[in-house]
Subunit: 337 residues, 2 copies
């Protein structure tokens, strides 16, 4: 169990990027460790989740308010209770919360979700929280794959996709993953059992998609937006469905002037449905049910989880910048303590 | 009842427009009237429906094959059987079929749908066939408006929208129509009972939409695509739905380089669903049920139908070009005989 240290390192959003995110947009400061008042807990960050959505929060208002300057960068963490002035929370308890990029945080209990102590703890970040739930609902509730359908997923070696693609495979779909390197293409076939893998940098995506999906695309789990989404729309089958989960190609840099070609023309011609979704659209009971299913799959070895763990809070900016460039394989996180 | 004449006037697609459609893309030819063989009927065109989709058929492959050059321009018509060599079809019977831009056609019975003889006959084009059914399914099955929801519709004085907007109003929605002139804006409020009307040419559409929809937009029945769709997406409420029915702004001229901004970013942030649909997605039984409902509404005066009837087959090119420019009010058709 980590011990309380003397200082609280915090990474602040120092200024807003006009184009690509870089280390100078953050500032590391050291502050005293706060003390909880009655009704509060003090938590220490163990694992910090890095997510492409972090970049979108910096840029503008999304499903949450825009990140303010000079404030601690937001981020989901697995943290441990160090001191508690709340009944029902004791030192050593684990929680999932948006405690941000810092060592210590003061929370009220409504902002903290208790988590079980499992081995490895990192699975609480990589699969048994927002990442795994997003994959689960996006596949099971939005895409709804049927056996034999062609299911395409982008950023396929990434955190959400590794879970989503394997769920689609378990549901009987023919799964085609789009990635950014030959190594990742090999890996998703070997480790996740994908039927096909496309390195989108290896040739024109329209052609490689056509080769990999000779019978067209029934379902697309979109993590990237942009030109890959455009190419997929052109190959969608009639009554196809697109689950819009993320648009990582659009987060880091100038916002795009326009969206993908074929919207809405191809949506009409082929009666395609595009649906944006967030994990918050399902309630607590649905979350519990999904988590139980994910546990069964992971513990029985039906779903394999890759984790990309970096050490040290100070590396969070570098870790996020690398994630946006596609350097990670599986779920990237920072081991903070 | 129209009598058989001596010649069959046909309008052929003479060449494919590179930009805007104009009269020289069509050629009028005169041919002999064909004779039906065993198993065929000869029909005479009474009313020819003009639809924005006609323009899309010329441009490329849509939900049907691309129109071939030197062939009779396709188009839905109400026609009358003149001569029959099929049991069950007799001279004087009315049918709806894609008999195209010509006076006479030979058909096999599977390509003809029998229609009742009603008064006025033109209602078979304006409401009791594809136009009315498209409006019905787009509202009732795709948008599913609930009382008090804000329902926005574009090309709101057009053929499909006049039916769709009034159905949404009957279902209790607050209906806001987008049109291209102050006259149309007045008309849709006065004749169709819309709550608000926006002339998109009167000012920046983002601002006029904001004024007309202070509580955001829950449902959008999109007939136009392009910049209006883009502006609507920006004002959609969480869990909003967009029924993609047409994209008339994109049909006539150079195809657009890109699609609307905010796709998929805003779809995710606001969990919006965009769904392309065609009337063919529902079966015959659903069509019959919808037609009965439409009849009840029209006959009881709950839905008002505007028709924009031009005389003479030779005016079909001019009629379609004007339709694409937004010159029509209500359903535009050609009285051929």
């Amino acid at each position: 169990m980590p011990q309380k240290s003397d200082i609280n390192r915090q990474l602040l959003l120092a200024n807003r990027p006009e184009a690509k995110l870089s280390p100078e947009h953050f500032q590391l400061v050291e502050t005293p460790i706060p003390s909880p008042k009655q009704g509060e807990i003090l938590t220490r960050t163990l694992y910090l989740s890095l997510d492409a959505a972090n970049r979108a929060w910096i840029q503008g208002r999304t499903y949450r308010e825009n990140m303010e300057l000079e404030k601690v960068m937001r981020g989901g963490t697995i943290s441990e209770v160090v001191e508690s002035k709340v009944p029902g929370f004791a030192p050593g308890d684990l929680i999932f919360a948006d405690t941000g990029w810092q060592d210590y945080t003061i929370l009220t209990p409504d902002a903290a979700k208790k988590m079980p102590r499992i081995d490895p703890l990192s699975h609480l970040i990589s699969v048994y929280s927002l990442t795994g739930l997003t994959a689960y609902f996006g596949v099971v509730e939005v895409c709804k794959p049927k056996p034999g359908q062609t299911f395409v997923i982008s950023a396929a070696a990434g955190a959400t996709a590794q879970v989503a693609g394997q769920i689609a495979k378990l549901m009987g779909a023919r799964v085609v993953g789009i990635v950014g390197s030959d190594e990742k293409a090999e890996m998703i076939k070997r480790d996740f059992g994908y039927d096909e893998a496309i390195n989108y940098k290896s040739g024109p995506i329209k052609q490689t998609l056509k080769q990999a999906c000779p019978e067209g695309i029934d379902l697309y789990f979109d993590n990237v937006g942009g030109e890959i989404l455009e190419a997929v729309i052109l190959r969608m089958n009639i009554h196809g469905r697109i689950a819009c989960c993320g648009a990582i190609s659009q987060y880091d840099g100038q916002p795009p002037a326009h969206g993908p070609r074929g919207v809405p023309g191809f949506l009409i011609t082929k009666r395609i449905t595009m649906q944006g979704f967030l994990v918050y659209d399902w309630d607590q009971a649905a979350h519990e049910k999904a988590l139980k299913q994910l546990q069964d799959w992971v513990q029985s070895g039906k779903i394999k989880i890759h984790e990309d763990i970096m050490d040290g809070l100070e590396n969070a900016p570098k870790g996020l910048i690398g994630l946006l460039a596609g350097n990670n394989v599986g779920k990237r996180m920072i081991k903070v303590a």
